[in-house]
C-alpha cells in the first residue's frame, strides 16, 4: 500500500490537488485540438487525471526496488523508461475510450482527441517522470529521518545509562553510617549497590532486554533505596509472570521508578507506597508506576530528561504503537507505558 493512501485526510488532499491538474489537462487538450470548447475539454480531462493520479503513485514501488546510486543511471533508465511508457499508454488508452464514449454527447470529440494525442502524451509522460523524481526525494527524506531516529534512540539510551550521582553519594553516606552501627547491613548494602551498578552497566550495553531482567534491576535499585529510606519507602508489586519474557528497550522503566522515589517518597515526611504493576494484554504490555507525592514539597532541581526521554525512546522504537500516559491527581502520580509485547 502506498503511504499516501494509508490516511484519509492525506488521500483526500492528494486527489484534491489533482483536480487542478485535471483542469490544466483539459485546457491543454482543448487548446491542442484547436476548436474544442473548454467545458468539453475539462469533461475529458478530469476523469483522465483521476486515473493519472493513481498511476503517479506507482513509482513508489519502482523507486523502492531501484534505489538511487551513483553510476546506476543505466539501470534507472532500464527500469523507469518502460514504466513511463506503459503508464502513459494506459492513461492515453483510457482517454481515447472515454473520448469515444463522450462523442455520443459531443459529436466529433474522438477525432479532436486524436488530434491532441501527441501533446497530451508528452504531458502525461512528463507528469509521470516528475512523480518519479518526487518519489525519490521522499524516499531520501524518509531514510534520513529513520537514520536520525535510530541515532536519537542510541543517544537517549546513552543518557539514561548515566547513574544519578546523588543517589550514589547518598547511598554511600548511608553505608558510612551503617559501618559502625550495623556492619553486616553495611556490607549487605555495599553488595546491593555493587549489584545494581554492575547490572545497570550490563543492561546499558544492550539494545533490548527481557522485561524480567529490567524488573530485576529496578528491584536492586529499590533494595538500596529501602536501606536509605527505611519505613518511609513501601513497595507493592503486581507483576504478571507472562510479561517477563517480553523484550523491552534496555533501561526504559528504571527512570520511572527513580522518579517515584525522588519526587514522591523522598519528599514526603511520612513516606508512602509505590505500586509497580506489569500486565500482558494479548499483544500489548502495560507497565505502570504509581506513587503519592506532596503537592507542597519544595521545588526540586529536575534534570528534565527523565520522562521526556522515556517518551522519546518509546516513540523512536515503536512509533504510534506505543504510548505513555501520565495520570496526575492532587496527591497521586501514575505513569503508564503501553507498548507491543514482543518475545525474541
Amino acid at each position: 500500500m502506498h503511504p499516501l493512501l494509508l490516511y484519509w485526510r492525506r488521500s483526500l488532499l492528494y486527489f484534491a490537488a489533482w483536480i487542478e491538474i485535471g483542469v490544466i489537462l483539459g485546457v491543454i487538450a482543448a487548446a491542442a485540438a484547436g476548436h474544442l470548447p473548454y467545458l468539453e475539454g475539462i469533461a475529458l480531462g478530469v476523469p483522465m487525471m483521476f486515473l493519472l493520479a493513481f498511476v503517479c503513485l506507482t513509482p513508489h514501488f519502482v523507486c523502492r526496488s531501484v534505489p538511487l546510486r551513483a553510476g546506476a543511471w543505466k539501470r534507472l533508465i532500464r527500469q523507469h523508461l518502460p514504466a513511463t511508457v506503459v503508464a502513459s499508454a494506459i492513461v492515453m488508452l483510457v482517454g481515447r475510450v472515454e473520448a469515444g464514449a463522450l462523442s455520443s454527447v459531443w459529436p466529433g470529440l474522438d477525432t479532436l482527441f486524436a488530434k491532441a494525442t501527441p501533446v497530451l502524451t508528452i504531458f502525461v509522460a512528463l507528469t509521470y517522470m516528475l512523480s518519479t523524481a518526487l518519489h525519490y526525494a521522499l524516499l531520501e527524506i524518509e531514510s534520513s529521518r529513520r537514520a536520525e531516529l535510530l541515532a536519537r534512540e542510541a543517544q537517549l539510551k546513552a543518557l539514561k545509562a548515566q547513574i544519578n550521582p546523588h543517589f550514589l553519594f547518598n547511598s554511600l553516606n548511608s553505608i558510612s553510617a551503617l559501618t559502625s552501627i550495623d556492619p553486616a547491613r553495611a556490607r549487605e548494602m555495599c553488595i546491593g549497590l555493587a549489584d545494581f551498578l554492575r547490572a545497570s552497566l550490563r543492561l546499558g550495553e544492550r539494545d533490548t532486554v527481557p522485561f524480567g531482567e529490567e524488573l530485576a534491576l529496578t528491584n536492586m535499585y529499590l533494595d538500596v533505596e529501602q536501606a536509605r529510606f527505611g519505613k518511609r519507602l513501601r513497595l507493592v508489586r503486581d507483576i504478571d509472570p507472562a510479561c517477563e519474557t517480553c523484550e523491552v528497550p534496555a533501561l526504559l522503566i528504571q527512570p520511572l521508578v527513580e522518579n517515584a522515589v525522588k519526587h514522591g517518597i523522598a519528599m514526603m515526611a511520612e513516606g508512602g507506597e509505590i505500586l509497580i504493576s506489569g500486565h500482558r494484554d494479548r499483544d500489548l504490555l502495560r507497565f505502570s508506576v504509581a506513587n503519592p507525592f506532596d503537592p507542597e514539597a519544595p521545588v526540586q532541581a529536575r534534570n528534565g530528561i527523565g520522562l521526556r526521554n522515556v517518551r522519546a525512546r518509546l516513540e523512536a522504537r515503536y512509533g504510534s504503537a506505543a504510548k505513555m500516559q501520565i495520570d496526575a491527581t492532587e496527591r497521586h502520580y501514575q505513569v503508564t507505558l503501553t507498548f507491543p509485547a514482543r518475545t525474541s
Partner: protein
C-alpha cells in the same frame, strides 16, 4: 569552653545517625533536637534557639534554604548534603561550612573547628541568616515559592498564586487566594527574588503579578490604576506605568 547546643535536620535516619555518632566524641557539643523535615527544623530552631544547625538541603516540606529564611534566632549553619551545586548559595547565606556526603571524621572535625572559631571571643557573633539570604540566590534563578510564618506554623505560597505584594514598614503583605500574609522582608528584596518577567513593581509600595492585571484605568494626570481580575485597584506610578509598557511590549 561553653557547651554548644546543636540541632540536626536531615530526612534520612542514617544520615542523622552518622552525625550523632561523630558528635558523641565531642563533649562540648550537645544535640538538643533532630528533625526529619523542614517544618520541624524551623519550629525546633525557633523554640530551642540552638547555637549550631546541621542542615540538609533536600528535605520534605521545606528545603534547607527555606528553613533559613524562616528562623529568627542567630544560628551557625553547617550544610550537610550530597549535592555540590549549592555550595555558593550556602556560603552566600553565611553558612559556616558545607559538608559533602559522605565525609570523614577528619573533615567533620575541621568543620567543628570552624564553628568553634565563630564562637570564640574574638570573632563576631554569627549573623542572622536572613541578613544575607537575599544574596543566597544564584543569578537568573528566581524563587518558585514563598514561605511565611503563620503563628507557629509555616505557610507556603507558590509564586503563581501570589496576586500582589504591598510594602508595610519592615514587612510586606502578600496577597494570595483572598488572604493576606505578612513576611518580614522589604519589597525591594522581594522584587529581586522574583522573576521580573512575571512580577512588576508598579509603584513604590506595590509589586504585582502580571497575570492578574485585567486592565488599566487612568487615575490622575500622570498615574494609572491597575485593575486586577478580582477587581482590586492597585495604584500605578508614572515610573510603574512605563515599566509596565516596556514589559507588556509597549502596546
Amino acid at each position: 569552653m561553653n557547651t554548644l547546643r546543636a540541632i540536626i535536620a536531615d530526612d534520612e535516619e542514617l544520615a542523622r545517625r552518622i552525625l550523632r555518632e561523630y558528635l558523641a566524641s565531642e563533649p562540648d557539643i550537645e544535640i538538643v533536637a533532630e528533625c526529619p523535615n523542614g517544618f520541624e527544623a524551623v519550629k525546633a530552631v525557633n523554640d530551642l534557639k540552638p547555637d549550631l544547625l546541621f542542615l540538609d538541603v533536600q528535605m520534605p516540606k521545606l528545603d534547607g534554604f527555606e528553613v533559613l529564611e524562616l528562623v529568627d534566632s542567630a544560628v551557625a549553619v553547617v550544610f550537610v548534603t550530597a549535592y555540590d551545586q549549592y555550595a555558593m548559595r550556602a556560603f552566600d547565606a553565611a553558612a559556616v561550612d558545607y559538608l559533602l556526603k559522605p565525609f570523614t571524621t577528619e573533615r567533620f572535625r575541621a568543620s567543628l573547628d570552624r564553628v568553634r572559631g565563630r564562637f570564640s571571643a574574638a570573632a563576631a557573633p554569627p549573623q542572622l541568616p536572613r541578613d544575607l539570604k537575599l544574596a543566597s540566590r544564584a543569578p537568573e534563578e528566581y524563587l518558585e515559592r514563598l514561605v511565611v510564618k503563620d503563628g507557629p506554623r509555616v505557610h507556603v505560597i507558590p509564586v503563581g498564586k501570589l496576586d500582589y505584594a504591598e510594602a508595610q514598614d519592615d514587612y510586606v503583605a502578600l496577597r494570595s487566594e483572598g488572604k493576606s500574609w505578612l513576611k518580614q522582608q522589604t519589597i525591594s528584596g522581594l522584587e529581586t527574588a522574583l522573576d521580573p518577567r512575571r512580577f512588576l513593581r508598579v509603584h513604590r509600595s506595590f509589586l504585582v503579578n502580571m497575570e492578574r492585571i485585567a486592565r488599566l484605568e487612568p487615575n490622575t494626570k500622570d498615574t494609572w490604576l491597575a485593575i486586577l481580575r478580582d477587581g482590586t485597584k492597585i495604584p500605578m506610578s508614572r515610573a510603574g506605568y512605563s515599566r509596565f509598557r516596556e514589559l507588556a511590549g509597549g502596546e
